[in-house]
Symmetry: C3
Subunit: 137 residues, 3 copies
Amino acid sequence: MVQQYSLTLPAYSRGFHLISHHVAQALDKLPDTGMINIFLHHTSAALLINENADPSVRIDLDSSYDHLVPERMPFYTHTMEGDDDMPAHVKSALTGVSLTVPIQSGRMALGTWQGIFLAEFRDRGGRRRLTLTVYGE
Amino acid sequence: MVQQYSLTLPAYSRGFHLISHHVAQALDKLPDTGMINIFLHHTSAALLINENADPSVRIDLDSSYDHLVPERMPFYTHTMEGDDDMPAHVKSALTGVSLTVPIQSGRMALGTWQGIFLAEFRDRGGRRRLTLTVYGE
Amino acid sequence: MVQQYSLTLPAYSRGFHLISHHVAQALDKLPDTGMINIFLHHTSAALLINENADPSVRIDLDSSYDHLVPERMPFYTHTMEGDDDMPAHVKSALTGVSLTVPIQSGRMALGTWQGIFLAEFRDRGGRRRLTLTVYGE
């Protein structure tokens, strides 16, 4: 059995945003056992799983990514869409846009401290579109 | 229903290469709804999804990865296979070798600006081998 | 057909550890063709596929990650759980906690030089818990 859902997120500011609740709300009844793939249809943002409790982790993830992939590097040639654009593509490449999570007892089997995050790497990325694909029985 | 395909890519030079068309050509008729996993059987290259339109993005991805993981770092001990080898393993670890993409209406549901890339991190990586696994109904 | 397994690893020291054999031992008979998702329920460690033969690669992966995401960066605000904690979250975000591997002829179709690794980013991370989800026919 395959189920598929579309999800359009609210527009987020640049940074790391917990979206587990948006994903859960977009889903109907899940199969008892299986997996869900969460796919982001964009190339300047990313999906990841990280610590869901302390907001300071999200702030430091953001600072760490900015430190790792700075704006205005002298070797950038793709500069027409703003200083935040090329670093956003690099951060997205490093992090990924597709997550697969197991389903157990009819729910996403995330660890106690795990949340699903959208990393918005653009200053004004707008509303981001996801496809959720569920397989199970 | 599961379908599985082997795909051997042409040998690419070091850098980021759009391979969406190679993947699409390797597939028979896809199920209407489902997902496809694209898996690379190597440890010094990677698979990623990024912007498919402007070739300057690929050039800057390459420069950014070289800046992030330089050759000849004093702490490298795995140096027998050439200066490009150990950085290639690190870049592959950061980027990943397995991509899952949703299938919608019988085709891979990539975003408008999304393409599938092989990141070839070796100077002469040769022909890289992929397995494509499709599930759907 | 979906099968799901729990796997709790032994406690590992900080570093990169080959766990392919632990994963293989946790599985019953696999389907002939399909895929397996390997999911780590933690946010300060990661799963990856990399070179399984030469232990010097693992040592250099560890040094490279430490170089890329250093401890005690002045901008860290999440510092209560020790110097190793915030870098562990960043490294986990960059590497990922979910791997999907194809199944061919009843076994995981890893490349000759590919092994599955747990990257333990904490000094004392303890025993890490995985869920393995198999789909195939």
